[in-house]
Amino acid sequence: MLNPDSVGRTFEGADSITVTQSEIDSFCAVIGETDTTVAPPTFSIRISLEQSQSILSDPSIGLDWTRVVHGDQKFEIFSPIKGGDSFSCSSTIESYRVAAGNEIVTVRSDLKTGSEIALSSWSTLVVRA
């Protein structure tokens, strides 16, 4: 079970993350996108889910990642990602509830350049009972 004290808290990612052009190229190739000058709208999941996973799997938070199913996903893009962009990342546990024994957690991830948010995303994760 998730530690209830973690709900509403924001966790800063350790280091700044730099997106490489080759990461964008690989993602584009899978979906058949030939214009690789900006990343496709869902590209940032590559960064945000890894961040969320490392935060939520911490024993002090207590989410069992091995039983996680992705419930829904939303992106708000203020500035499209380009190769060479660097971001600081933070994740906030926005809500938590238990329904029919399943834990339902919504995590917001922000990618920032300096103090400006480039992209926010929300992932609802369901930990199956």
């Binding site: 899978v30 996108e33 496709p40 709208p41 996903q73 939303k74 992106f75 708000e76």
Partner: protein, 131 residues
């Protein structure tokens, strides 16, 4: 026509095990439920399933092709309501359509529909793009 209620022509994407492997490598999501049939069945799934985010990435491609490029998208969201089931050596469809649901000064909102084998796989799928 760009007007509320107008529909955007259907497009069919193909999903198979090779695409799942490629998406796993490109996204970093190597969860075995998307590649290993034995594992997927052991955790109660009918077969290997596609990454929900691969489905969403392909629907995103539908949106960005219509809108004029990846830089046009400002909002994109969906609920994963049913898995896309991907048996070995099989091409399965992801069929995408959209309806224009709102037109603002600077943006257009699309309500998106995505099905595989006739089953709706995304719910509440919406994208807002710059005009």
């Amino acid at each position: 026509m760009i007007e509320v209620g107008a529909t955007i022509p259907e497009r069919v994407f193909t999903i198979n095990r090779e695409l799942l492997k490629a998406y796993a490598d490109a996204s970093g999501d190597q969860n075995p439920i998307h590649q290993n049939e034995e594992f997927a069945i052991s955790v109660g799934l009918p077969n290997v399933i596609a990454h929900g985010m691969l489905t969403m990435a392909l629907v995103g491609k539908f949106v960005t092709d219509w809108a004029g490029g990846s830089s046009k998208v400002t909002h994109f969201g969906a609920r994963f309501i049913k898995p896309v089931i991907v048996p070995a050596n099989t091409d399965v469809d992801l069929t995408v359509t959209a309806t224009i649901s709102a037109i603002e000064d600077k943006s257009i909102t699309l309500d998106l529909t995505a099905t595989s084998a006739g089953i709706k796989v995304l719910g509440m799928a919406k994208a807002t793009v710059l005009r």
